[in-house]
């Protein structure tokens, strides 16, 4: 959560330049509302009444493990799947019965989806041509959309001549050139390697902020979601578990499931008593769902500290990873619990070294012990 400069800009519209028609024509975005979306595949219910309200121009991520229903929810918004019950509305108008090709959306898929028989520029122009824009203007506007993703010079290539990252950039330009009401991103980065993934995700966010297009982004990568979203909906087993800003989810998770899924945490045994929990001899306030009796306390690496003799509990260093400005160290306490902690890189811990650790006095999330 150190490099989220884009996230701090969230919600503040950036100045739009007039050098690009796509940017000059940028609107204020469209409100998207999901009401009680239920989706069954045969006897299996994959969405159990999902409600989601997305403000115009907002960037919302659907985050969750595979099979949680996030992609199905996105496909219901796109119209590629029809909900068993519930409604989808764009700008207050119910579009539940409107066909995908009439919904005026832009979508980028996980799999490479450029048309192999068309050049890059023809791929981008495809949506405009379907909207009966004449060839010359379609070509000009497509060129501008390609410039926006920094690939204007590759307009005459074929998709197979591009790298994976470039293909997804073209797919983004193709989805945006029609100035869709909603931009839907279905794990567009998961097929790319780590470096390109970070680059492209920041670029998607930068372009989205400039265009002000309402965007729904599906991902299983919490770091991705935290970095770019205005709000994140954490999904689990076909339900939205919690929806909030990245800071909300990280600092005030509503449940242990959210805490475990967003950010790193270690599970430590404690004893709960309503709104307080006793861990390693100190009493900490509980946030979110309370639990009584034997509980597991989820602690963030940055809230575990190295302390001097006579304080906290004893532990042995298992491994220590250098991450630039910080070090992340895994220690095993004497009762066998593995705990991850984060400390300045200057403090070098050796494998097998004995240390003492304690928790910072911040609210923690708990769950009943199994």
């Amino acid at each position: 959560m150190t490099d989220t400069t884009t996230a701090t800009d969230a919600g503040r519209p950036l100045p739009r330049t007039a050098d690009n028609a796509l940017l000059a024509g940028a609107g204020e975005g469209t409100r998207v509302e999901l009401r009680g979306i239920v989706k069954d595949y045969g006897a299996t219910r994959v969405l159990h009444g999902v409600d989601l309200d997305i403000a115009p121009g907002e960037f919302v991520s659907l985050l969750g493990p595979s099979g949680c229903g996030k992609t199905t929810a996105l496909r219901v918004i796109s119209g590629l799947e029809r909900a068993t019950a519930g409604s989808v509305a764009f700008a207050g108008t119910d579009v539940s019965r409107v066909a995908t090709n009439k919904r005026d959306i832009g979508m980028v898929f996980q799999a490479y989806s450029l048309f192999p028989h068309l050049r890059v520029i023809e791929n981008v122009a495809f949506g405009l041509r379907r909207r009966r824009v004449d060839a010359a203007s379609a070509r000009r506007r497509s060129g501008e959309a390609l410039d926006l993703v920094g690939l204007g010079h590759l307009a005459d290539r074929y998709p197979h001549q591009l790298s994976g990252g470039q293909q997804q950039r073209v797919a983004l330009a193709r989805a945006l050139v029609t100035e869709p009401r909603v931009l839907l991103l279905d794990e567009p980065l998961s097929a790319l390697d780590a470096k390109v993934r970070v680059q492209l995700r920041d670029e998607i966010r930068r372009i989205q902020l400039r265009l002000g297009t309402t965007t729904v982004f599906v991902t299983h990568d919490q770091e991705e979601a935290l970095a770019v979203s205005d709000r994140i909906a954490v999904m689990d087993a076909g339900r939205i578990e919690q929806i909030g800003t990245p800071e909300d989810l990280y600092l005030r998770p509503a449940s242990a499931r959210v805490a475990a899924f967003v950010g790193l945490s270690s599970a430590v045994a404690g004893v709960g008593a309503g709104n307080a929990v006793t861990v390693w001899g100190s009493v900490l306030p509980v946030q979110g769902e309370a639990a009584t009796g034997d509980v597991e306390v989820l602690v963030r690496p940055e809230n575990v500290r190295l302390v001097g003799e006579g304080q906290g509990v004893a532990a042995v260093v298992e491994e220590s990873t250098f991450l630039g400005s910080i070090r992340r160290t895994l220690v095993r306490t004497d009762d066998g619990t593995l705990v991850r902690l984060q400390h300045p890189a200057g403090e070098r811990l050796e494998f097998g070294q004995r240390v003492r650790i304690a928790l910072a006095p911040v609210p923690v999330t708990v769950r009943a012990a199994d």
Partner: protein, 265 residues
């Protein structure tokens, strides 16, 4: 891609010459047969085919050829406009039906033509009443006959692309189903559709049993008729049919290469 397994230039030439030689022997022998005479070489038998005075004699073959070409055209249309869209529909919307569909499509290859005719005869009685007895109606039977061959080549093309993602991408971009089929799917199945068309034409031009038993005049039945009167003419027509097939192969191969060129320039 020119990896370790690629044979050397010389090896490729040797393989090419040997294989070409094997195929050339019957071809060359037939050519020699049609132009040899006790007095040396002659082209008179070839010229005779186009002699207006002998036109009546060769009419069955010419009629058969025209009928066969019409049938080829209608059969290709059935493959392209009925069978191919059905296959796309099955892979996109009813993937569970794929195995059953494959079984059904491959079935004709296991049924001898003579058995097919037994079932087709009463059907053609009805078709005759509905559509008349025009030569083209045989294309309904041929459409079934070419299913196994068309199926394999089209399915190979379908498997080579991500049909689902491409059609979903096109739909999110505002394309309706006709547009998806014509502008996105068909161009990407081009090679398979070309191969299916070619093989359909070849099957139709070579078919004898069904046409003969249903008393239709097609190229092959015409050749049999002529063969009884003039063995040389039959050989010449066979050569012409082969040349036509080669020409077709060449055209389609060229078209295929243009397609491949766009993918791998």
């Amino acid at each position: 891609m020119s990896g370790l397994l690629a044979p050397s230039r010389a090896t490729r030439w040797i393989i090419g010459i040997v294989v070409g030689g094997v195929f050339a022997v019957p071809f060359v022998a037939t050519v020699l047969y049609t132009i040899s005479s006790p007095d040396g070489w002659t082209l008179s038998r070839w010229a005779a085919l186009f002699d207006p005075e002998l036109a009546a004699k060769y009419r069955p073959v010419w009629t058969g050829l025209v009928n066969s070409l019409t049938l080829a055209l209608v059969t290709v249309a059935i493959v392209l406009f009925l069978f191919a869209p059905t296959m796309v529909l099955v892979s996109l919307r009813f993937p569970r039906l794929r195995r059953a569909f494959e079984f059904l499509a491959l079935l004709p290859i296991t049924i001898p033509a003579i058995v097919l005719v037994v079932g087709l005869a009463p059907i053609y009685l009805q078709i005759g009443r509905t559509f008349g007895t025009g030569a083209w109606t045989l294309a309904f039977a041929y459409g079934v006959l070419v299913l196994p061959f068309a199926y394999r080549s089209i399915q190979a093309s379908i498997d080579a692309i991500d049909l689902r993602t491409l059609s979903e991408a096109a739909r999110t971009l505002g394309a309706g189903w006709p547009s998806v089929l014509l502008r996105v799917i068909a161009p990407n199945l081009r090679q398979g559709l070309l191969a299916a068309s070619l093989i359909s034409v070849a099957v139709v031009l070579g078919e004898f049993t069904i046409a003969s038993l249903l008393n239709r005049q097609v190229l092959q039945t015409g050749l049999v008729v002529i063969n009884k009167q003039d063995a040389w003419a039959s050989a010449i027509f066979t050569l012409l049919a082969l040349a036509f097939a080669f020409l077709l192969l060449l055209i389609i191969g060229r078209a295929g290469r243009v397609g491949a060129g766009r993918k791998n320039p």
